[in-house]
């Protein structure tokens, strides 16, 4: 499992690329890594899921926790979700709680619109 954090240089939005299985084993590692990112002043995160091959309820819990952490002055947007990952979010009936987009640009537009709305 791999995590890569990239500063997009745009309004403190960070792009986080994750790779592998987001199961109970990996989700705590992701949570720690995101906590580090959130300790900087960034509260806007785009999570790139293109290389995530699996998601379980443990992973979902971490995503909801990041959502909660960022909702005040930023936000979380998930991009490039594979069908198998989308399906789990739907089975858990949590699609209304997690913002999804197709591209980095689209995700940035969503996060910037949120900022302006503040």
């Amino acid at each position: 499992m791999k995590i890569e954090v990239i500063d997009t240089q745009r309004n403190g939005i960070h792009l986080v690329r994750i790779e592998g299985r987001l199961d109970a084993n990996f989700s705590s590692q992701l949570e720690d890594e995101i906590d580090n990112v959130l300790e900087q002043k960034t509260k806007s995160i785009i999570l790139d899921f293109s290389e995530v091959t699996y998601l379980s309820s443990s992973g979902l819990r971490v995503l909801l926790s990041i959502n909660k952490e960022t909702e005040g002055d930023g936000g979380l947007v998930l991009i490039n979700l594979r069908d198998i990952v989308k399906k789990v979010i739907e089975v858990a009936e949590l699609h209304d709680y997690l913002t999804q987009a197709d591209t980095v640009e689209e995700a940035m537009a969503i996060l910037e619109a949120k900022r302006k709305a503040k």
Binding site: R21, D23, A24, N25, Y54, S56, S57, S58, L60, R61, V62, L64, S65, I66, N67, K68, E69, I84, K87, V88, V91, A92, E93, L94, Y97
Partner: protein, 217 residues
């Protein structure tokens, strides 16, 4: 490192002959045979190709501790340590066995999800991680049914008694094991739980596979 024994087990479980495996990997059958007898060791590159041909991870072939497969006709079993890092090993194993039995991809995904959730609960709640111990996962096939038995010796833990998830708490990032169980119930057709002091926890997951039998791809 006893890669030979593991390799032979997996190859037989997959029902692949020495010759066929050798052909897929691009080596001679006698070479594979020697590896299986631990008379020689494959290069990393060959090992990678072997694991691809058998649809397991290389670490599965290399990992010395923790799992045994005892294949018989319609059932396969794996024994895993109570550690979360083995969840991916379990997924590889289940996927391979189900593909071999022609279970369609959509059903395999559901089975993998349910068993992953159930096993996470075994490790986190029955064993509470704790000292090294093992749990068993057995897969059996009967007509259009796939049955997965999970057996562990941890503290008594009946997932079916857990209340449904509280979305508000979940949305607040709280730990809620109800969600995993909810997901498990949604993707399987039947779930049963038994407990006895001798056998420990015994969870049975049953999935009826879709009519159109795909090739598992």
């Amino acid at each position: 490192m006893d890669i030979g024994v593991r390799l032979r087990e997996v190859r037989r479980l997959r029902g692949i002959s020495l010759r066929n495996l050798a052909k897929k990997v691009g080596v001679s059958a006698s070479f594979i045979s020697q590896v299986e007898q631990n008379k020689c060791q494959p290069s990393l590159d060959t090992l990678r190709r072997i694991s691809e041909a058998l649809d397991v991870t290389t670490s599965y072939l290399l990992e010395p501790e923790g799992h045994e497969i005892s294949p018989h006709k319609e059932a396969a079993e794996i024994r895993l340590p109570n550690r979360l890092k083995y969840l991916s090993t379990l997924a590889d194993f289940l996927k391979g066995v189900c593909q071999k039995h022609g279970v369609p991809t959509k059903d395999i995904e559901n089975i993998l999800l349910a068993v992953d959730e159930a096993s996470t609960n075994v490790i986190k709640y029955a064993y509470q991680v704790g000292p090294l111990n093992y749990f068993k996962v057995r897969v059996s096939f009967d007509r259009d049914l796939v049955q997965i038995d999970l057996l562990d010796q941890g503290r008594r833990f009946n997932p079916l008694e857990n209340p449904p998830p509280d979305k508000k708490e979940l949305a607040g990032g709280e730990e809620d094991l109800g969600m995993g169980i909810y997901v498990m119930k949604k993707v399987m057709d039947n779930i049963r739980y038994r407990y006895s002091p001798n056998e420990g926890n015994h969870l049975i997951l049953i999935k009826r596979i879709s009519q159109s039998k795909g090739n598992g791809q």
